[in-house]
Amino acid sequence: MTTPKIELSDLKKSFGQKTVLDGVDLTIGTGESVVIIGSSGAGKSVILKCILGLLSPDTGTISIDCADVTALYGKARERHTAKIGMLFQRAALFDSLKVWENVAFALRGRSGAPRKQARETALSKMAQVGLGPDVAELWPAELSGGMQKRVGLARAIATDPEIIFFDEPTTGLDPIMSDVINDLIVDTVRNLGATALSITHDMASARKIADRIAMLHDGRIIWDGPVAEIDNSGTEFVDQFIHGRAAGPIKMALRR
């Protein structure tokens, strides 16, 4: 196995009375693409936010490149989290900036690239997610949901980060564009050697982009294995999830 890029151990997080993460252990190797699956509200996005330092876990450790970032503060922590590019579930574009300025944001900020050069890089990243230069001058509010998602994707990969988090990259996209984005994610991981951690409900996408799949249920990773073994996981939870059956051990909180 390759050296671990990200290591989560015994991660716990509660909001008030509600326990969301209850001891998550997960290791992601360098250059590996891991997909987390799990029911809506299971805490998948919370895991990403804990790693990014946007939420602080109650207990447990998070290591990036073998350094425990939960023990670091300020600049020292930023040095590690700066390696991560993030696509937010709801895109989170800056609505006071034009589309291309959104994509170029980190280029301008981090490396202080001149405006013209940053714009060119932004346009080429936008082309990779299927957005033409005519979109560049629009405001985020003028885009459809799927287009916003793709701008968010372009912004996440703009600086060629070592680690990329994709929170539901294909939700809200048409099937063809979903496949384009899947290819793009595979490409980014293969060609740039990036490490990817994705969340998706789209099993076709998961099978395509993942080296490994981990299933989050009841605050823990209940199954974790290579993508080829997902159909023979031997776990009813996973079977129910990947086949999308209402009947099974996972109970949705419904009242009939």
């Binding site: 946007l54 930023e78 989290t81 800056f94 980190a106």
Partner: protein, 257 residues
């Protein structure tokens, strides 16, 4: 002893909120003092807070100056009316009404706008996105607004002072038939640099309070459109109260010693 429990709970909640505000303010100020600063963003905020507030500040000031002259005429008509009116107008404008009224108007106009903008960025995860793009939200969002507030309010107050005195002059000369040159001479005679400076110092404090309240409530807003609405309301109310309270404290420090 059970009646103590709710009292204690309120007290604890108050102390927690105060502590959180103080930490927020200190963090924000430390980012204002440390480079790098975003010059372009500061400029944009100065235009937003200063330039676009000019109409509302001008109207407030001119009517205040006019009504001051009118009111003091009814009160002082039996005495040395002309001199008294010029003095009342210029002293009340520069010392108290200029900074306080400008502060309150800007609190309503700018404090609410800042809280709504920053609050929307919070609930749509734009502030989280800033962090993931290696940009400190305090430096990028908060510091430019605080700096713009502290720089701009004194300028607005000087403008308000001038327009307010002009309003008093209009009423005195055209409605009360005083001698124009004499009125101006009296005004000038009453004007002490110390009065103007105390008003300007107040304005800087109020500018800080208004932008701080807007940023603080926006930054900590939660829960969608309603949360942002609450943040805007809280920003205006808390800024207004802090302006009136700190005005009393500063006046005590300047004039009662």
């Amino acid at each position: 002893m059970s009646f103590l429990a709710p009292v204690g709970r309120v007290l604890i909640r108050f102390l927690v909120a105060t502590g959180r505000l103080v930490v927020f303010a200190l963090t924000a100020v430390s980012h204002c003092l440390r480079p790098p600063l975003y010059g372009g963003l500061i400029g944009r905020q100065i235009i937003q807070i200063g330039y676009f507030s000019l109409p509302v500040v001008g109207l407030t000031a001119i009517f205040t100056g006019m009504v001051l002259a009118l009111q003091s005429y009814t009160g002082f008509a039996r005495f040395n009316a002309e001199s008294a009116i010029a003095g009342v107008v210029v002293l009340s404008m520069t010392r108290e009404l200029g900074p306080v009224l400008v502060g309150l108007m800007v609190a309503g106009r700018v404090g609410a706008a800042i809280a709504a903008e920053v609050g929307t960025m919070r609930v749509t995860e734009q502030i989280d996105a800033l962090t993931t793009l290696s940009t400190n939200p305090y430096k990028y969002l908060i510091a430019p607004r605080l700096i713009a507030g502290v720089v701009t309010l004194p300028i607005l107050v000087v403008v308000a002072d001038v327009i307010g005195v002009f309003g008093g002059y209009l009423v005195s000369v055209y409605s009360l038939d005083f001698n124009a040159a004499n009125y101006l001479k009296l005004t000038w005679g009453f004007l002490e640099p110390f009065d103007a400076i105390s008003g300007i110092a107040k304005a800087a404090v109020f500018g800080f309070l208004v932008t701080l309240m807007g940023c603080y409530h926006g930054f900590h807003s939660r829960g969608g459109a309603r949360g942002v609405g609450t943040a805007a309301t809280n920003a205006v109310v808390s800024a207004s109260i802090l302006i009136l309270a700190s005005n009393y404290i500063i006046t005590t420090a300047f004039f009662a010693a």
